[in-house]
């Protein structure tokens, strides 16, 4: 397919990510196929076969090996990328912590899909939510355009010497990965100019300055390693903003920590990640036409979690519903609910916040569902009573 940059082209999420990977031209990519992310590496392997990238593509025998190979290559100083979904991410779990603990800026696309059992190939966020404490930066994408833009930015964020932390870019399985959307691509030169060359500060192949990675640390220093890592990830927030504004300056599409949609004067708001935000926007517009003051907050950055900014954005809202596409199985609501709600705890006047689990295993989330959630929020505002604090969305 001849793809023209600068103009609108119709691409699926997977094709857009593969295209971005071609433009980034990582040194190494190690991967194993899994639905719905398979298409990314499949298309990338065509670029590779046609000599359009200088990448070493390693098609290993499992995701366990894929992430291990990524870690090895990154430790050797390479720019490294991969993609996976669901069980594939779950099988990488052990190595996710190695990548982040060694401070290796691997960049991975996670095409969100439900976890077994029972087996299901459709979208929910159980996979990436399960990895939320693995020390990876997490960016979420509503659309194909955002997934493409996020991936380019993730490279710069992860590799920033202040951050040096792996990053995952999440988009919804099938809904975004397989749907064709009109998007604007950058020119190869623009991408190269934006991400720059990767110059690792230290690497295993720098034999003049030998280092060791992952060596045994005990009670004396292990905790200090973790403290430093944690501080670096906290600092990534600033870098995300910086990189997002530079991206906006150069290419006209601005990115921050979150998107607030008609939220300034909203009384009722939904907080939701990824593609469901698009559906919610339609409901917001319809209700606004009827004079209802409703809005949406869509976090873009989930790790590090921008709790202060989220609290500031929601401080004047009366009632909030946080929609989680993953269940913590009887934690306090879903993961997003629990973090958003505790972010609001310090506010002078705290909005009423309820949590609903929705869309598991690809269950549809429609404008009607969204509208019903807003109606529920208005009942809370009118009666001052919370009906059910957490639970499953009726769908």
């Amino acid at each position: 397919m001849a793809i023209v940059t600068g103009k609108q082209v119709g691409l699926t999420g997977n094709s857009a990510i593969a295209y971005a990977m071609r433009q980034i031209d990582p040194d190494v990519c190690a991967a194993y196929p899994i639905t719905p992310s398979t298409g990314i590496i499949e298309e990338f392997s065509s670029y590779y076969a046609d000599g359009q990238v200088s990448t070493e593509l390693i098609t290993v025998e499992s995701e366990h090996s894929a992430m291990s190979a990524c870690v090895g290559a990154s430790a050797a100083g390479a720019r490294v990328m991969t993609a996976t979904s669901s069980q594939g991410l779950a099988l990488m779990w052990e190595m996710l912590y190695i990548a982040s603990g060694m401070r290796l800026p691997v960049v991975m696309t996670v095409v969100n899909r439900a976890l077994s059992a029972p087996i299901n190939i459709h979208c929910d966020h159980s996979d990436s939510m399960g990895a939320r404490d693995s020390g990876w930066i997490q960016l979420y994408s509503e659309t194909v355009q955002e997934a493409y833009d996020n991936l380019l930015q993730a490279v710069r964020i992860a590799e920033d010497p202040r951050v040096l932390t792996p990053a995952m870019v999440c988009m919804d399985g099938f809904i975004t990965s397989h749907a064709v959307e009109n998007i604007t691509l950058l020119a190869d030169g623009e991408v190269k100019g934006f991400i720059g060359d990767y110059k690792p500060g230290r690497s295993l192949l720098d034999t003049d300055n030998p280092i060791t990675m992952g060596a045994m640390t005990l009670q004396d220093v292990y905790m200090d390693f973790k403290h430093e890592q944690s501080m670096a990830i906290a600092g990534a927030k600033e870098v995300v903003v910086e990189v997002g504004s530079d991206f906006g300056r150069r290419f006209g599409r601005h990115y921050g920590l979150m998107e607030c949609y008609r939220l300034e004067d909203a009384e009722a708001a939904i907080v939701v990640l990824n593609s469901a935000a698009g559906t919610t926007k339609v409901a917001v517009d319809e209700l606004r036409k009827k004079g209802k003051k409703v809005g949406l907050l869509k976090p873009r950055l989930f790790r590090p979690f921008p709790y202060a900014e989220i609290a500031a954005a929601l401080k004047n809202v009366k009632a909030v519903c946080v929609l989680d596409r993953a269940d913590s199985m009887n934690g306090f609501g879903g993961p997003l609910f629990s973090e958003v709600r505790s972010a609001l705890y310090g506010l002078a006047s705290v909005p009423k916040v309820m949590g609903r689990i929705f869309g598991l295993g690809g269950r549809d989330y429609t404008v009607e569902h969204s509208t019903a959630v807003f109606e529920g929020l208005y009942r809370i505002i009118e009666t001052g009573r919370m009906e059910e604090l957490t639970g499953y969305l009726k769908s």
């Binding site: 196929p33 590496i41 392997s45 076969a49 593509l57 098609t59 025998e61 059992a117």
Partner: protein
């Protein structure tokens, strides 16, 4: 003879076996593509099970993930559909908890030999009593045709656009070297022979591995320029193989390049669960004499 009677006779001959007894009809239609060999293998397996005299409740069928691993969903035994590559570990757990069950694992070449390769060799090494059917179609069928550890060198796949450079595994040699006590190879083309091989495999006490060559015309066939599913079966399964017994009598040049069919290896060795139970008795102070 009236036409009706002739048709009835023909039907009787062509439907010698009632598969309905073993099939979960509400789970049909199955997901396998037209021309896929997995269904033929399933039929041979059901006939073999029927002839081996096992009841449905005596069998537990376990699988990982893949097209071949969908098999347990369609059959009315105790069944478990687990994770890609891990079927043998789950099966080991089932067998140890209920040694009286006959465990049959259906797995793909990717499931068994790539992501699950480690479990494969250790299961063989332990010689735990189970029948392992490796549906070997030389490709990852379910995810759209990436090369697998049995894809021949030089073959096209979605991850080897100019030909696969990796040497492939010989599943049977691998099983034998790892310690499996029954190793055989069959094909979907030789369905009667496969049935006989599977009866022997199911009867065997210990780890029995049967590699079954079958074809994925959609992903392997199309990328490697096979004209049709039947041509693929003829070329790979019929002309590409030879019965082991026959091969012994032929000069090496006539056997060269062909894969051997039939029972390739069969030895006796203590079975894992039995050893385990003996150990328990010993620890309890029984049977120490």
């Amino acid at each position: 003879m009236s036409t009706g009677a002739a048709t009835a006779k023909k039907q009787k001959l062509s439907v010698p076996f009632d598969y309905n007894k073993y099939i979960r009809k509400n789970k049909l239609p199955h997901i396998w593509c037209p021309g896929c060999g997995h269904g033929i293998v399933l039929k041979s397996l059901l006939r073999a099970i029927d002839k081996s005299g096992l009841t449905k409740d005596q069998i537990c069928m376990v699988s990982g993930i893949g097209c071949s691993s969908r098999t347990p969903g369609y059959v009315d035994f105790n069944t478990m559909h687990t994770l890609h590559g891990r079927a043998l570990s789950y099966a080991t757990g089932v067998k140890l908890a209920k040694p009286e069950l006959k465990i049959i694992v259906t797995t793909g070449d990717g499931d068994a030999l790539a992501i699950g390769g480690n479990h494969f060799i250790h299961t063989c090494r332990r010689n735990i009593d189970m029948t392992i059917l490796v549906y070997s179609n030389a490709i990852y069928g379910m995810t759209g045709g990436q090369f697998s550890p049995t894809t021949p060198q030089g073959s096209m796949s979605t991850t080897s656009r100019y030909g696969n450079i990796e040497p492939s595994f010989d599943c049977c040699e691998l099983a034998k070297a790892a310690g499996a006590t029954f190793v055989a190879r069959g094909t979907a083309y030789h369905t009667q022979e496969l049935e006989r091989t599977l009866i022997e495999a199911v009867r065997h006490k210990g780890t029995a591995v049967v590699e079954i060559l079958d074809s994925c015309p959609i992903y392997f066939g199309r990328q490697n320029k096979y004209k049709s599913a039947s041509q693929m079966m003829e070329q790979i399964e019929k002309d590409g193989t030879i019965p082991a017994a026959q091969a012994e009598k032929l000069p090496p040049e006539e056997v060269k390049g062909k894969l051997l069919r039939g029972i390739l290896h069969r030895v006796e060795r203590p079975e894992y669960c039995e050893q385990y139970l003996k150990l328990v008795e010993k620890a309890l102070g029984k049977g120490n004499e």
